[in-house]
């Protein structure tokens, strides 16, 4: 009992430290990536002003997020904010006012993609998303989907196998996603799978080696675009 208590003190300390240090380390390093939520395009010269935060101040002053040097723009002229139901523009007591589609706004106005906003003489076209006309959220989804579908290209005959789900089995067994009809291939030779947005390959064969870029796979190895997987005479190119 005494010895147990003696040791538990250290263990207790170790457990707490493990949690706190892990979390602290993660907290002081975590930072969201920068994203472009919308773009203002100057109608006179096509200059683009990306909006990279949820609330962007617009004005002549250097402290603003989006700076227009026109003299008709107040020092802090307006705020463009992304709210729960979409983008809004707020007139923050500017001298020359804010116009959306040529109508002067009171306090605030909801923005739609393609609206024309005038801050004094600075006339901007407002685009949601990072350049084009697509709805912001839709585009994001599409982009993610594209990313998520890597391909395996058979280097022998050039056929492509698009990975549908989260894993692909390769082997001699019937029902494998990619069947390799050769006696030296194991029934379950290898598996390509996804975990936490990353792709990995794991060897399962016993007779024949699975190699990745010429090196034997004897544990789980992460895959990147352009990797070549070889099993006997078969070869696949991994494309993201």
């Amino acid at each position: 009992m005494e010895v147990l208590e003696y040791v538990l003190r250290y263990i207790l300390c170790f457990l707490a430290i493990a949690v706190i240090l892990n979390c602290v380390w993660s907290l002081i390093r975590l930072r969201p990536d920068k994203k472009v939520y919308a773009v203002l395009v100057d109608m006179s010269n096509n200059k683009q002003y990306p909006i990279t935060c949820y609330e962007a101040s617009v004005g002549r002053s250097k402290i603003c997020d989006i700076i227009f040097t026109n003299s008709t723009v107040s020092r802090s002229h307006a705020v463009i904010a992304l709210r729960k139901d979409g983008f809004y523009v707020f007139d923050t007591e500017s001298k020359s006012g804010v116009y959306v589609n040529e109508e002067k706004i009171e306090k605030s106005e909801k923005l739609n993609d393609g609206d024309v906003i005038a801050f004094g003489t600075a006339i901007m076209k407002f685009h949601i998303g990072n350049d084009g006309n697509n709805d912001y959220s839709h585009k994001k989804e599409k982009k993610q989907k594209e990313q998520k579908q890597p391909k395996l290209v058979n280097l022998v005959d050039g056929t492509e196998f698009t990975i549908d789900g989260d894993f692909v089995t390769i082997g001699r067994a019937k029902g494998s996603n990619i069947e390799l009809p050769a006696p030296y291939v194991s029934r379950k030779q290898a598996e390509v799978f996804k975990e936490k947005n990353k792709w990995y390959i794991e060897n399962m064969g016993s007779i024949t080696k699975t190699t990745l870029n010429g090196e034997t796979v004897n544990r789980v190895i992460p895959l990147i675009d352009g990797d070549v997987i070889r099993i006997g005479d078969f070869a696949f190119l991994f494309e993201m």
Binding site: L15, V19, I20, V24, L27, L30, C53, A81, G86, E141
Partner: protein, 412 residues
């Protein structure tokens, strides 16, 4: 996922470790306490574990959240606090546990309230009125406890309104960017802040008044960036403080031991010297939960709780706890640029600096690096109002991370 470079910790592994931690604490508690309290402690620890798992499963599976570092730290610190309370005051553990439950509930509800900036903006004035009203009510009806007149009793429950007003104070102080830009004047907020600080002064709750004033400075600076006004306000406050010291010399007496507590060994330096002696006795790994002696000193689980942690859990763990307060502030600062509104940025920075400042007053106070002010250590000190306010402040920190909320159907 929004985050790059750094990865979120795996919440399941961390939760597993925290569970182990709590089990060990629980085991060392039940072998010591009186038989009659065993069921209370079992209920508390079991209930706490269930709440933890319920929260994580709910947030992970239903809300699809990824980042749990903030909650993990809070859950761990709270369980350290619960263990100490259970060990020193086994009869009060259920009460404390209920407060923790209310706190976690408040945390969840406040997160939900904070999802909409428009709503928050519209709620600021009602909350301000409510907060001031609560303080005035306290001032009129409070009973004096340990020299400070800051407790009110409602239906057998004693609460410390100043703790809850902390949350309201930050909520009122923050504002979204368009509000800040169209009305640059701080006047209304200054009036509100001085109302709160003044009320606390009249309650003789100087520690909390100081915390409010510090938070006020942080918010005022984040809102206006106007250093001149802030210096002016600080000067006014300093002069006010000096006036208090002149007309109420016994306030100054409270600080006579500061800087040389060993000379006031058995008088006004009593708590500090005992804390230092027993902190040192614990060594790096502590003497084990329940083996301490500092617990017999008055206010051991509140003001001196850092000493109890040092003595029973060891200096290393004490250091890690301090580190976690720092991490919360760093996190808030780093996320402030990407927050969904300046409202959240100000809230989070104010809330996490408040906690850090309060921790500093508590920890450095008992170790004679700062004067002893008698404030609680966030999440760890015993005290229902304190733990509730800490958990609610945590909601502000959580809200600064845009990935906390679903937005327009898409996780940000």
């Amino acid at each position: 996922m929004q985050t790059v470079k750094a990865r979120n910790v795996n919440p399941y592994i961390m939760l597993f470790i925290i569970t182990l931690f709590q089990l060990i604490c629980f085991l060392s508690l039940v072998t010591r306490v009186d038989e009659q309290y065993r069921s209370d402690i079992l209920m508390t620890f079991g209930g706490y574990l269930m709440i933890e798992y319920a929260y994580f499963i709910g947030a992970r599976l239903v809300l699809g959240r990824r980042g749990f570092e903030v909650e993990l730290i809070a859950f761990l610190l709270t369980s350290i606090g619960l263990s100490i309370t259970a060990s020193v005051y086994p009869d009060g553990i259920v009460k404390q546990f209920i407060a923790v439950l209310v706190g976690i509930g408040g945390f969840v509800v406040l997160q939900w309230v904070l999802r909409d900036v428009k709503f928050c903006n519209s709620m600021r004035i009602p909350v301000a009125v409510l907060a001031l009203g609560l303080l005035v009510f306290t001032l009129v009806f409070a009973r004096a406890t340990n020299g400070a007149k800051n407790w009110i009793y409602i239906g057998g429950i004693s609460i410390q309104p100043s703790e809850l007003v902390k949350v309201a104070f930050i909520f009122v102080g923050a504002a979204s960017l368009e509000k800040l830009q169209s009305n640059k004047s701080l006047t209304k907020f200054v009036v509100f802040a001085f109302g709160c600080v003044g009320a606390l002064f009249l309650m003789y709750d100087f520690g909390t008044a100081l915390i409010f004033f510090f938070t006020f400075i942080v918010i005022a600076f984040m809102r206006s960036g106007d250093i001149r006004t802030i210096v002016l306000l600080c000067t006014i406050a300093l002069m006010g403080g000096l006036l208090v010291l002149m007309f109420r010399p016994y306030v100054a007496n409270r600080f006579e031991a500061y800087g040389h507590v060993w000379e006031y060994f058995d008088t006004s330096g009593y708590q500090q010297t005992r804390t230092m002696i027993y902190s040192a006795s614990g060594g790096l790994f502590g003497v084990g939960l329940g083996n301490g002696k500092l617990r017999d000193i008055f206010a051991a689980t509140e003001d001196l709780v850092f000493g109890v942690v040092c003595e029973e859990f060891g200096m290393i763990m004490a250091g890690a706890i301090l580190l976690s307060y720092i991490a919360l502030l760093v996190y808030s600062i780093r996320h402030s640029k990407y927050a969904r509104s300046s409202f959240y940025a100000i809230c989070a920075c104010a809330a996490s600096s408040l906690m850090l400042f309060q921790a500093a007053l508590n920890v450095f106070g008992v170790n004679d690096i700062l004067p002893l002010t008698g404030v609680t250590l966030p999440f760890i000190s015993r005290g229902g109002s304190s733990i509730i306010s800490c958990w609610m402040l945590l909601a502000f920190i959580k809200a600064v991370d845009r990935s906390t909320y679903r937005f327009g159907g898409v996780r940000q």
